[in-house]
Symmetry: D2
Subunit: 506 residues, 4 copies
């Protein structure tokens, strides 16, 4: 028992800097899981014959009563009477069923394994919740991809227009990284969802407790084995914030693109009114501020994740509980930011409007389909690619020097003439391609439609990719829902159990 | 005015993810400074003849009334009726003095310069508050140094006992780094304490406003010049969290030592009861947990500082206001953690008990004064140091091979014999030092007292250093109090002013 | 072709700041994979009928010749004649087989997909190499666990002795986290080991290339699908450095413990001579510096990992190639540090000596087995645990107040008397436990042996855990070797292939 | 002496992972300063009468000889014969003047104070060099500001055109942040430029050494006092990388703007040919890659700075030397990246071309000067600003709904009509402003020229700001040159001194 070592405990500064913030955090996040842990422990002890079944029953009854007092607790003003929520609940328990009975619950456990179990119970829900949000975002992107299968859209590299593709092709790249993000979140969930209860201080106990039963009662997938590792390992946390970090970086880069597209220079997309603010002084402005906030929120999420790592770095490989008390709010922050980002981004995407005409105009400008001309010279005229590239480079230069055309669509007759001229100069043979053929070659829709190999933007190719990913998305969501169901079901189950059955039969 | 662009504003997700958290944060931290900015602006506009003095007076009267409604605001449940606190206050103002009058306050300003001014007003107080705490900590360390001028204490390098020094000497090293931390915090304060108000959107205004008056009224040290820089620069923030980071790292390392000293292996210090917790399962334990929490809190503070930098990195050099809205809570966190760390550490140090006997025993063990023997061989027997070192190395090895003495004080007769033997082997001459002289040579108090050059641990040397630092500390505290006074005085002053004086005469 | 846009290219500052460092890095790391990519591309183009088989053959012959010139390249002094290694090799190729032939190799590819393929080829080897090192470290820890199955060792929590366990139990906690680290490294490897070649700029190509063949020829496990994602995604990198980060944090905490154990206060382990340095001025010291270096190297590794994330954060979701050029050396650093840490730690552990007597003495000191007495009061005397805990707390306090015993083993007769006294005071009944029984209860070996439930330290329990992990370790190593073999085999295979077979049959 | 503890030292892994990289780094960076430290120490010892002057002279002669062997050392293949460069030089010294004489140099010093002095000597040069580069960049920006005093340029906030300003006004914002960066670098330089030599292990020495003389001889500004602090403090390093971090973030944001301006959507600037690369596959592209590299290099610099902080966090407040050995290369990296960024950015800016017409066109588009109309309604027609703002908001909306005008300059007659209409609707009075007056009101040049209060963009205002900053820049450069001179002069001075003078007279 971490009872005050004397009446001098706690020092007001310690109360203020440590105990109170941690108590308040516990009340908000750990009350229910703590009750559940108490229930599971009581049931297990009684069924294993370690405490009398009657005692177990009285403890369970008292816990039921306490579990209804959550609101009351929320308004409780912590002043250090007990060290933490754990002792606060223990005291209530003693008040309800007497210290002789209540005292039996303390056997074969410790604050160490209880706390780390609490942390994992909250974190697994956060991971699962985030994964479900991500899965919804992915499903929205698949929806949008279906809608924009043929929406021509410019690829920009190095801030310059590069080639046409389709918006669907771009969005499917995001679908694919979200697929990997979901893998990482699911892995983290599986790492987290192991039950350390029964590790006690770090060495388990001499009492014949049933750790598998505890794990089952609390909805974990399995017992986490080595007891020292149970209370000392932090990689469950690093892996979790690592998965969230990667997601934040992935989404942050996607948001960066959306910001560019909604800029006044670009104007490829516009946000729905619900995400746009006007200026307090400039009447003409329409600011897509939701995207800026998204960028910063993603950064904040990443920052909180890194803060978790920082706080665990260069600490001993020992009991993490006390140290982690102070880190838990940072973990909450990290997942709270992540969740805000995914939700807000989903809503922004759902309602944004794409300016297809503007996108098409860009796909027709600046000769961004000229790569295809080089390919034609290779395919039809048998030039080595590097030579074809040189011819087309000159053609591009020639077009740039006709200022009136600078940003317009390269007129096919000009291109035809330039091709003839530079093929002669570079390759030694005059290649004539009729303007008519050229306008097909330089058509961005054509550009896209010939790119039909695996991973290419041709609508049929992307469609089949969408189909596969829809299936994967549906499977994932079924899996996530199954986990969610399991996490939703065990508390009810636990609340309904008594101490009568024998060991290992919950 | 960032009015909703349509009735669709704000989208519930945007409200939830952005507007509401930011409104709540603003209510907690920005209400008073916002009222002050409004007051200063009204006074300045009226005195400069930009708005009628009578309008100014009515606005001031209304602001006085609003300023009393802070509590009412704290319980206000934000639902997106106005975009943010700024408009919330504007609406109250309109209700009190009519939109015809209230509307005059909006001239020659923008949300951009108002927000960045708010950020700086809050941050300068946090910096000043932290600096004052650090100054108190420094003053406590000076006090402790005076008390421990002769408390022998072991220097540990590479986890091994190295040499004796005094506890005062060690603590004065901390006094010196805190001196530099105070320099950094004071520099950051001066960077922050510049007034950007009047920059408006980014280009000031065509109205003949008086920026110097605004700055003076709001207690700033000077106007921040370039208007674009006013709303786009973030280095005031990076420098501030940088100063806090360095403090956290400095203190974190100091805390790491305290942790080691309070470990059961070491037992050089013990904490007061108010900072010690007992185990919930191991009755024999007495855990100096406050130190572990301090370590993590310092890490959390550092983590928040780095998160601020992360959120600003790779963003455009433009209006930082919207982005910073979301970063402000992270800044608050950073300084809140820092403040908790400094306060708690001060209290822990104030009440901790040093085990002088244990420290002395360590200073006598393991031959950690043997360096001095080498020095004697050089000084009195004219051996080159490297050779003297070799002799003493063998002596040390010889002592280690006498297991019974392994951890005890090297008996001077053994050392004497070994010196004679190895000086012959290494240096070719048998050097005899009588045990009596040797026990003086190997006495840790003697070791310390001969080290009296500048920066050394000899009590007289340290005493004179303490004297100088006490003076510096007193000067610093006077300076800090003067700043504090200035920040305390301007709001009253502002509340008492009217619009009648002419320009530039507050 | 990124040819210089004019004779003004490159500017000397650009050469110095960007091109030269990147060229030098490419020569060191990318030469061989670049040759392999060229080979695979030539074979694929020829087999798919996109270029004449005879051209393919001549290109392959030239590549064979170039591949022998690695040394020559190492001494090449880059001065900006070509933009990068890619063009340097292309120029050599042109010199060897003429630009008409060589120019054919440029079809259906781009610097974008080539570079990202290079990055993945190098990174997958680094991941695999690191995983193999980790697997060896894990296997060493299993070996040590077998050896220390019964080596009693103190658990320390909050810097205080807590309970006895065995060294094997502690080490198995590390075995378990390494198991999870290996999972993470293997996942990262599988994310990385996908082939982006054929994505070209971002949209694949209109030529009927065979991406599956390219993937197979270059030893990848599969094609990475979406072409835009191929060149824009960075999560393969974030996941990889994330796995390395988690490893560094895990090992850093383990190293922190080793440092504590080798400190002079603790002296539980001592390092072999090869890892210990002596002081240049303090002859008596023996510094376990390798551990300090390990701690810093792990931090440096973690720092490099975070720098990678930082460099990718808030960048557009577009072509990562140019940006990544500059990040690649940071990735190399990260894995280089990680590899140094794992190797050095393995060697340090292999040769360190454990002071079993000292460990045993600690396990007998400070009443750290008193928890067991509380358990006995519960088990045998039917006290509620909380009450038993209170009795034993008083006993512990009583023992502490007998100064002579402060650090010694609690004499069982003293404990017996105190138990009788405090059981009466606390529980109202005098419980007498004969000293003889008490000395068994308080024996640390007994303490450990009764903790035999899953995850506990009882030798039999740990032995069976070792057995399972040995099997897992062996399976893992087989898997890693299979991957290693595959990465070793494809280059030979590639070097021996010609262009004759038809599509898809390598 | 950190001599190998036995013939087993060093273990090959330790050699590989620690000693060799550190030796190689020392040879590159520490050789000269180490020779200087040896010289200064010899001179000081002799002058203080601690060693015979004749010995001092022989040591100096030998050091002169060794100092010429730098090239020879560069090709030395380290194999662990000596622990590090320090002992390598000591051994050479012994070879040249015999161990009896050479051995005298080891008195009153330690590896601890020597190493930390080396670190500071190298770091102060890096800080100074970087500050000089920044000062040059600032001076270039002042030059560009003079040139662009009247170049109208759009302010963008929230990705939308906001108001016109001048390019000079924007650039002067950067001049101001660089001024603060220079302050921070100068502060860091002053923190670093203190001499820790003479601190020895951590407690100085019993010999009457003259630390002030050492400091003077080695070009430091003063002695760093507390000896424990000398070898344990790391804030000199954190402050230094903090200053570099802030610079990197400042410049990174500036670079982000440059990237946007050079994008194809924006086209406000174009880079000189020396910084532009063409695509290997897209002939039409002209990529401003230098800017992308700059962004990443700045991130890498920031990442290295953070890695330094990470490596020092949560370490004991003790001897930093061994730990820092491994951190030194990271510090080098940090300043190397920073230096590359500042140099390359300076060159890019020097040669970039601004498209004034394009900038002007943007300043005329989208009604971005409409704010001024609101001001006129306030100034001339006495409307409250908020009401004027509402009128103008409707005007802006009205203009947007005339599609043909969407991006063009608001025709003054249309604005005139709309103003009349909406002033009636909103303010209840029809305000007529003649189109002629309106075209002046809406002229961006007029917009800028009326903003002449302090910090505004009016050319005269900016000109006077430039003048003041030119003076400050010149003063700064004089100060930097004076420091540079001092750092350049002491080595020659040192090389020319002998041991004859008496104490304290160099």
């Amino acid at each position: 028992m971490r009872v005050p070592a004397s009446s001098g405990f706690p020092h007001p500064s310690y109360l203020q800097a440590v105990l109170k913030p941690n108590f308040d955090h516990s009340v908000r996040h750990f009350f229910r899981p703590l009750i559940e842990i108490n229930r599971a422990h009581a049931i297990m002890l009684a069924r294993c014959g370690i405490i009398p079944k009657s005692h177990g029953a009285r403890i369970l009854a008292a816990l039921k009563q306490i579990s209804t007092q959550e609101n009351q607790l929320a308004s409780y003003r912590y002043r250090g009477a007990e060290e933490d929520l754990f002792f606060h609940v223990e005291r209530r328990l003693e008040a309800l069923c007497g210290s002789r009975v209540a005292g039996h619950l303390s056997v074969a456990r410790s604050r160490n394994d209880i706390d780390i179990t609490l942390y994992r119970m909250v974190l697994r829900k956060e991971l699962l919740g985030l994964a479900q949000q991500v899965s919804l975002l992915q499903s929205l992107l698949l929806e949008l991809s279906k809608r924009h299968l043929k929406t021509l859209f410019p690829v920009v590299t190095h801030t310059q227009l590069a080639q046409p593709t389709t918006l669907a092709h771009y969005l499917m790249a995001a679908v694919e990284f979200l697929e990997r993000d979901l893998n990482r979140l699911a892995s983290a969930f599986q790492t987290v969802n192991r039950c350390p209860l029964g590790a006690c201080v770090a060495t388990t106990t001499g009492f014949p407790i049933d750790r598998a039963l505890l794990s089952k009662l609390l909805g974990f997938s399995a017992v986490m084995e080595n007891a020292y590792g149970c209370i000392a390992s932090v990689d469950y946390l690093i892996e979790s914030v690592g998965a969230a970090s990667t997601l934040m970086i992935n989404l942050g880069r996607f948001i960066q693109d959306l910001l560019g597209w909604s800029s006044q220079d670009s104007q490829l997309i516009s946000l729905a009114e619900g995400f746009v603010q006007c200026s307090s002084i400039m009447p003409q402005k329409r600011n897509p501020v939701a995207l800026e906030h998204l960028r910063v929120l993603a950064s904040c999420g990443l920052g909180q994740c890194q803060a978790v790592a920082l706080g665990l770095h260069n600490t001993p490989f020992g009991d993490v509980v006390d140290a982690e008390d102070d880190i838990q709010p940072v973990v909450r922050n990290a997942f709270d930011y992540a969740s805000r980002v995914v939700d807000l981004l989903t809503q922004v995407l759902k309602s944004m409007v794409v300016d297809r005409e503007r996108a098409l105009a860009l796909c027709r400008s600046n000769g961004i389909t000229l790569t295809e001309l080089a390919d034609v010279l290779v395919r039809d005229r048998r030039l080595p690619f590097r030579m074809a590239h040189r011819v087309v480079s000159r053609v591009a230069l020639g077009l740039r020097q006709q200022p009136s055309r600078r940003k317009g669509e390269p007129r096919s007759d000009a291109v035809s003439a330039l091709t003839a001229r530079y093929s002669r100069e570079v390759a030694g043979e005059t290649i004539r391609i009729p303007p008519q053929q050229l306008s097909r070659v330089l058509d961005p829709a054509q550009f896209v439609s010939v790119r039909k190999i695996v991973g290419g933007p041709a609508p049929a190719t992307v469609r089949s990719s969408i189909r596969r990913h829809l299936k994967a998305n549906a499977n994932r969501r079924r899996w996530l829902e199954a986990q969610q169901l399991a996490l939703g079901r065990y508390p009810e189950n636990l609340a309904s159990l008594d101490c009568l059955a024998s060991k290992s039969a919950p």
